[in-house]
Symmetry: C2
């Protein structure tokens, strides 16, 4: 984004050639568009006090009285604020205007025939999405292993017939409110008119709430005529000018509608370089629609009104080798497996003796877990898997958080530095590693997501094993969207996405699904952690193992399926899930 700096040195008419004023221009990427101006004002020096004591006392008395009176008046007289409606807005006139213009434009060529191109037409979204799995004609042995079959689940089926209508109604209502809260005029479709004499910014104009900016890029390039004129209209702010240009008439300075006109086109265009917009209707994150027009032409553009994104930066510590304890916190949740947890801790300490380990524990009879750099949190019994995950990550104070399950074992191959390096050097937010089973089989599960729009019934989510593409410079890594439960991630991003505490037992991909559009995810198969106990061998299981499996995989897992499906249907507004 472009910042034009206007440095003031003298408040007088500047003649051409005189260089009292200097223009400096600077490309500032992404910043809102103010124009810097005068050097900062200085505090006026204090006034000297009067010499006579009695006079001073009289003055003081008067001032105190005035002060008290002022304070009283101030507290009794409400400030002249205008009350603002913050209820969700219906479709505005502007939206209707834009929509109508587009329809008219498209209808012009209705009579010209065309032949469909099948291959492309098929890629466009359908009016609804398809919720079907694959069926096989012949079931070959190992077919599922070699060519995993796609299964499909119509999510509305988890609700009883009798309650389904009500659930649909409520979901539509909640979604509608959500859309009204999260969308602004900056999401509207706007089409630029052809052959318009107006030059204007189509994107990238931003102002902080209640602040003022110069609107960049405005001009009128029109054929010779008697008089040239442009007008501005806004709904959440006012227009003004930062400087006067001779021979330009201005009407509506400081108002929501302003007109500039002149006999000289160059004067008008010079004036247009000084048009300002001031946001007057407070909102923390919205956009105003500006209409900029001249005789016979009207353009529309938006100005985003918002505080810049407040960063959440972490101090990475001194340059050079990564200080792992300052950069990374290890987080895990434990239940019924204190022995495995202790094995995990011991294995971590061999390689990272001072790294903080945060443990969320929802055992019925919690035991102490102690040691340096260990933080142990006790939860209500059985509160659950994702509740525990959310708790653990909520306590992390370092730049990165490493998620591990309580039955992992660190080995010499568990080089966290590699994972830190990839996040320090790229724009990725989360990178998973690989988990090696007792059998020696190493798994770096990767999934990709595809979302098809489904209209009012909700979208269709398609989950497929695999990844999107390899990563340049990191030959063992690929970009995916779902990875194993062994990953390093930016703490602020994980906290922003969160682990839904309603998921008590089995859940995994829900985190990545909630992270869609937020997390940029990768998976590297050269950072490996061992998995103490994935395979359920009938011998070699301790009592706690047995109790764990009984809890973790209850005979009837229908409650779990019910909860997960209900959440996909209602919370995420899906109608269908397909996966292989």
């Amino acid at each position: 984004m472009f910042v034009t700096a206007l440095e003031k040195r003298d408040d007088e008419i500047i003649q051409p050639g005189a260089r009292s004023w200097s223009w400096s221009t600077e490309l500032v990427r992404g910043a809102p568009l103010p124009s810097s101006c005068c050097p900062p004002p200085t505090t006026p020096p204090p006034n000297p006090t009067s010499s006579m004591w009695s006079q001073k006392r009289k003055v003081l008395m008067v001032m105190v009285t005035l002060g008290l009176v002022a304070a009283l008046i101030r507290s009794w007289t409400p400030r002249p604020y205008t009350s603002v409606d913050v209820r969700p807005k219906q479709e505005t006139k502007m939206e209707k205007l834009l929509a109508d213009r587009l329809v008219l434009s498209e209808r012009k060529y209705d009579d010209i025939p065309y032949r469909v191109k099948e291959s492309v037409l098929g890629l466009l979204a359908h009016n609804g999405c398809v919720c079907e799995g694959e069926t096989r004609s012949i079931n070959l042995p190992y077919a599922n292993l070699l060519f995993p079959r796609v299964s499909a689940q119509n999510l509305h089926t988890v609700f009883k017939e009798s309650e389904l209508d009500e659930v649909k109604r409520r979901r539509a209502q909640e979604y509608n409110s959500f859309q009204k809260r999260s969308q602004t005029a900056a999401d509207l479709l706007i089409v630029a008119e052809a052959n318009s004499p107006l030059q204007y910014p189509t994107q990238g104009v931003e102002v902080r709430p209640l602040k003022t900016i110069l609107i960049p890029g405005l001009a009128l390039i029109q054929k010779t005529r008697e008089r040239y004129s442009v007008n501005f209209t806004a709904t959440m702010g006012t227009f003004d000018i930062a400087a006067f240009v001779d021979e330009v008439a201005i009407k509506g300075e400081g108002e929501m509608q302003m007109t500039l006109s002149s006999r000289y086109l160059s004067a008008l265009n010079r004036q247009l370089q000084f048009v300002t917009y001031t946001n007057t209707l407070f909102h923390p994150n919205t956009a105003d629609t500006v209409q900029f027009g001249t005789d016979g032409h009207q353009s529309v553009f938006t100005i985003k009104v918002r505080h810049g994104v407040t960063p959440k930066l972490y101090n990475p510590g001194p340059k050079g080798e990564y200080n792992m304890s300052a950069l990374v916190t290890i987080a895990t949740k434990t239940f019924l497996r204190y022995d495995k947890l202790q094995d995990l801790i011991d294995s971590i300490r061999q390689f990272y003796p001072t790294i903080t380990i945060v443990i969320a524990d929802d055992n019925e009879h919690p035991k102490p877990v102690t040691g340096p750099y260990i933080e142990h949190y006790i939860m209500p019994f059985g509160k659950g898997w994702f509740a525990g995950r959310n708790l653990a990550v909520s306590q992390v104070t370092t730049k990165y958080v490493l998620w591990v399950d309580d039955d992992f074992i660190f080995t010499a191959n568990t080089k966290l530095e590699k994972l830190v390096d990839i996040l320090e050097s790229t724009t990725l937010d989360l990178v998973g590693g690989a988990v090696r089973e007792v059998t020696g089989y190493k798994a770096s599960y990767r999934q990709t997501f595809s979302l098809d729009q489904g209209g009012e019934d909700g979208d269709c989510l398609h989950i497929r094993r695999g990844f999107h593409h390899p990563i340049k410079g990191y030959p063992n890594c690929v970009v995916a969207e779902g990875v194993v439960n062994f990953f390093l991630a930016r703490t602020d991003k994980v906290q922003q996405v969160g682990f839904d505490p309603r998921l008590a037992r089995v859940a995994h991909l829900e985190f990545f699904i909630d992270g869609l559009g937020i997390l940029h995810v990768a998976s590297c198969d050269d950072v490996i952690v061992d998995h103490a106990s994935k395979i359920k061998l009938p011998w070699g299981q301790s009592e706690s193992d047995k109790a764990y499996y009984k809890f973790r995989y209850p005979p009837s897992s229908s409650d779990t399926v019910q909860t997960r499906s209900e959440l996909f249907y209602f919370k995420n507004r899906f109608q269908c899930l397909t996966r292989n």
Copy 2:
């Protein structure tokens, strides 16, 4: 945003007048812009099996062999993915091109003089921000109460001289990475050229990753000539056409550069209605820059590439009266004040017997806190204030969360239904109430924030008491940006902002500062909770009170100030804080 539905019924050339094809148009606000097409494909029926058993066995053998060979080949031959660089990008050619064009356009009128308008110029951002408080010439009694003085804090002063340079360097580096991760081409300043024969969409075009959309609003309105031609260029996707129009030559179908040309303008424009864009370079949240040009003219617009925002909707329960237990969870943190905590719980139960209360507890010797619908979480001793707040809200499973301090008392005036009503009916995210002290004085603290850009040194945050505007329909409520510690909020929003666990002792506004641009905040003074113990009376303090105050307000609070200032400086990138 506009959705154009193209329904296919027959794959043949449609003559003008024949209505086998129907166009339906539908205004869809905010949705990405696909075009719906054919009815969903149906699964082909399974093939009947052969009658002879030996033939079947041979066929099976062949198929199994082929299948195994295919699987082997598939696992050995890597898919033809192109490796992608995900390191932060430097300024692209496109950005430079846009910047240069704007400079040229502005320099045209350099020789025309102007006179500054002081009142407006002063509102524009300066080249740096001012970090000054107010000094008073005469210190009147009660002056600070009536007219609170503004104090200013230059944040860099909390660092030692010797370490300041290094801290600045690291902060600049972290901020730079943050910007590269969070900005896309959709933030660039783009200016539409005047008198261009091109009609095109300037905002609102969006595609889901790896999907295809029709680009709306494209047209060429040009004076008569021999041949009309347009070209398209993209960097993260390819162009194609969904249908063929006679007399239009197409070059580059399915590629990143495509050209359309025709002798007939109307045919070209009809063809332009079928231009599609397919995202080919996966990224969860980015934007592609499309150049759309014709002879002598070049326009630029962006297409957002991202999954739609996955909603996090909560089921509000049946229509009618608010089911408070289903809608609201009360969250609090406790330390050394079990007696007050119990008073709080007892008072809540008088009015809301089944509402869930989540308690984060970082006492050194935790005591059990039991009762129905109580969730008690034990933290490591003294882990801290915001860590406890973050823990508590991380466990909430209802649509709304009510924050209370552990020394509040609910009364008949603590009508949570009023707070629920305002959030259910408006786009607000958080609404604070009022806290009544022992003395009877009722406080609904409200603050507003103002952020001035400060360039490389960081921004200046100005905190002022007061509010922005009243709310229509809610005469006791106003919109502000910081409120008391008694508020009802949307759970997903509070979890998204979070309470920074690095803030161990005193902190309050940091939550609202982290929420800038995310939370829409209000304050209502007619929902009141009593405060058991704000005033530190020397008599009537229990032993636990004394221990609490000793911990909460240590003699030297410099550590706290240090931490808070360091966080403001580094994490949020401020250089200055002023407040009254």
